[in-house]
């Protein structure tokens, strides 16, 4: 592409990208503030922000600062991680069905975290928890890549994902039933369906650094993924080091998703839904899709976490239940659409 037409379209895209990012950032901000205002304690929305900065040690200040703030921060960061990881995996595997929870990355991360947690390693050495999550995620991303990488069909990717998911879920149950803990059978729900209820800054501290490192690894991959979308040969002629691209992407996804799952359990479908909604808006350019998916993922997760608190009157609904209720029908629709396009 060259000449005035290309530069004009580039300028146009640049301007609309600006609007898109501004809009998404505003959405994240609004949802973040709303998330701080929602909870079981009846505090008027506007009043609650005052308590956020109050230094008086009152109960309401405590609720805002130690319960709602870490929750909103985790929802934002974990959502961004899942959106970004979904977009990156879809770019690498050139498959619209790739998503951390569908292909077993989240499930394997949960397994790693469960082993570290219930057998006491995390109690002795807190960092063992995110490290276990990341190790589990890494194993599954490498496995998926070996089983269904290199432009193989959507079917083989999903089948490999089912296999890895079932194995991870079975091993998680096994680990929990062998663990010396009377609550393991109840707590398995947390790991399989995810939740942000009653998390604290301890969890933010454990997971945030790894998520940020993962984001940094993934952030620069827009351009090489763009080249890869034209095919491996073309990417190579454009000077993309495919080995390096894969290594960086696999590590980035493993770090970010592994850390996220180790503090909030496995939350599904965010990484599937978000890139698909945004792709038509950014015109199939991974360089724009990656950051946009991060913002979109943060918005969707914040919204879902607000929703679970608003709809549940009894025990709080698990976040993963809600995202699956929204995500699974979307996934079905996507399967039908992909099939139509392929056949």
């Amino acid at each position: 592409m060259s000449g005035p037409a290309a530069s004009a379209s580039g300028r146009l895209a640049g301007r609309s990208d600006g609007w898109l990012f501004a809009g998404l950032s505003l959405l994240v901000l609004v949802l973040f503030l709303l998330s701080l205002g929602v909870g079981r304690a009846p505090i008027p929305l506007i009043e609650s922000y005052g308590h956020l900065f109050a230094d008086n040690g009152s109960v309401l200040a405590l609720i805002l600062q130690e319960i709602r703030l870490p929750r909103a921060i985790l929802a934002t960061m974990i959502g961004a991680t899942l959106g970004l990881a979904g977009a990156a995996l879809q770019g690498l595997l050139r498959n619209p069905l790739a998503e951390p929870s569908l292909i077993g990355v989240s499930g394997s991360a949960a397994l790693g975290a469960v082993v570290m947690f219930y057998f006491g390693f995390a109690a002795a050495f807190p960092l063992a928890l995110p490290l276990g999550g990341m190790a589990g995620a890494l194993v599954s991303v490498v496995l998926i890549h070996l089983l269904a990488g290199r432009g193989s069909s959507g079917l083989s990717l999903i089948l490999a994902g089912i296999a890895i998911n079932s194995l991870a879920a079975a091993l998680t149950s096994l680990a929990l039933s062998l663990a010396p803990n009377p609550y393991a059978a109840m707590e398995i729900l947390f790991w399989l369906l995810g939740s942000l209820a009653d998390r604290s800054f301890e969890h933010v501290q454990l997971a945030a650094p790894f998520m940020v490192v993962g984001w940094i690894l993934l952030a620069g991959l827009g351009r090489p993924l763009e080249a890869l979308s034209l095919g491996e040969e073309t990417a190579r002629t454009l000077g993309v080091d495919l080995k390096r691209l894969r290594l960086r992407l696999v590590l980035g996804v493993a770090l970010a998703v592994g850390a996220a799952v180790s503090v909030a359990g496995s939350i599904g479908f965010i990484g599937l839904v978000v890139p698909h909604i945004l792709r038509p808006l950014v015109g199939h350019r991974p360089g724009v899709l990656l950051p946009a998916s991060a913002l979109g993922g943060a918005s969707l997760t914040l919204a879902a976490d607000i929703a679970v608190r608003l709809v549940s009157t009894g025990p709080e609904l698990r976040l993963g239940v809600f995202t699956a209720l929204v995500g699974a029908p979307f996934f079905l629709w996507l399967v039908v659409k992909v099939r139509r396009e392929v056949l």
């Binding site: 079981r40 405590l62 319960i67 709602r68 006491g120 947390f190 025990p315």
Partner: protein, 285 residues
Amino acid sequence: MRFATVILALVLLLLLLAESAVAKSERIVSLNLCADQILLELAEPEHIAALSFVARDPYLSYHAAEAERFPVVRGSADEVLLLHPDLVLAGTMSTRATVNLLRRLDVPVLELPVAQSLADVREQIREVGAAIGEAVRAEALLAALDARLAALAPPVGAWRPVAAVYQTNGHTIGAPSLIDDLLGQAGLINLAPRVGLGVGGYLSLERLLAADPDVLLMERYWPGAASLGQTLLRHPALQHAIAQRPTLFVPSRLWICGGEFLAEAVAFLADAARAALDVNDGEAP
């Protein structure tokens, strides 16, 4: 006075006569923690063929030390049948398949529903006593329990303190339940029904803090094992809630089942009520 003694002696004599007519169960198997407790208080040791495996859990079973002397079963039909029981005690909530199978094989089964009050506990002790041929011991046990409860003077203040039950993982107990009844006996008001949690459920930290109870009753079950519930105990907001009011760790074994030890539970809870009243000098906060 003498007349009353004579009457009592006569009643006891009649009960003894009635009892000798009824054959005592000699191979009793229990599949339920609360049935274990009642058996250990009523039955002759040589008549207990097996207890449930939970009976040995020192956190849940008041008579855990005594339970060590008896064989335990996990609750599957085959292991129960191999013991050739002449009576099986089971709860109504678990081991359903086993109970159905035992019934089909004509093994006598007595099912005990979850006791939801002290009155339920009394009824169950009588029921088990009658079933195993120890009705006299059952009456004596109830008399001892009543005497101990009567000797306790629950604190009387101008108001009744509100107690929040906060178990591992944030579960709480509502009403009707044995624990709710015990709280009432000890002069406390249970928080859960007040905040709209009917039979119990999950008390989020936010709700606990906002409700601002006068006393916090927690359980410490298997504190050595890593669990999400143990992690939750470290939450700064919960630590703050604990620091702000009298907080007592109730041994679970005291209040989840019925037995003479319930007097100990009520005494423990009355101490909690007294602590809450002391903090506020008996004035409503």
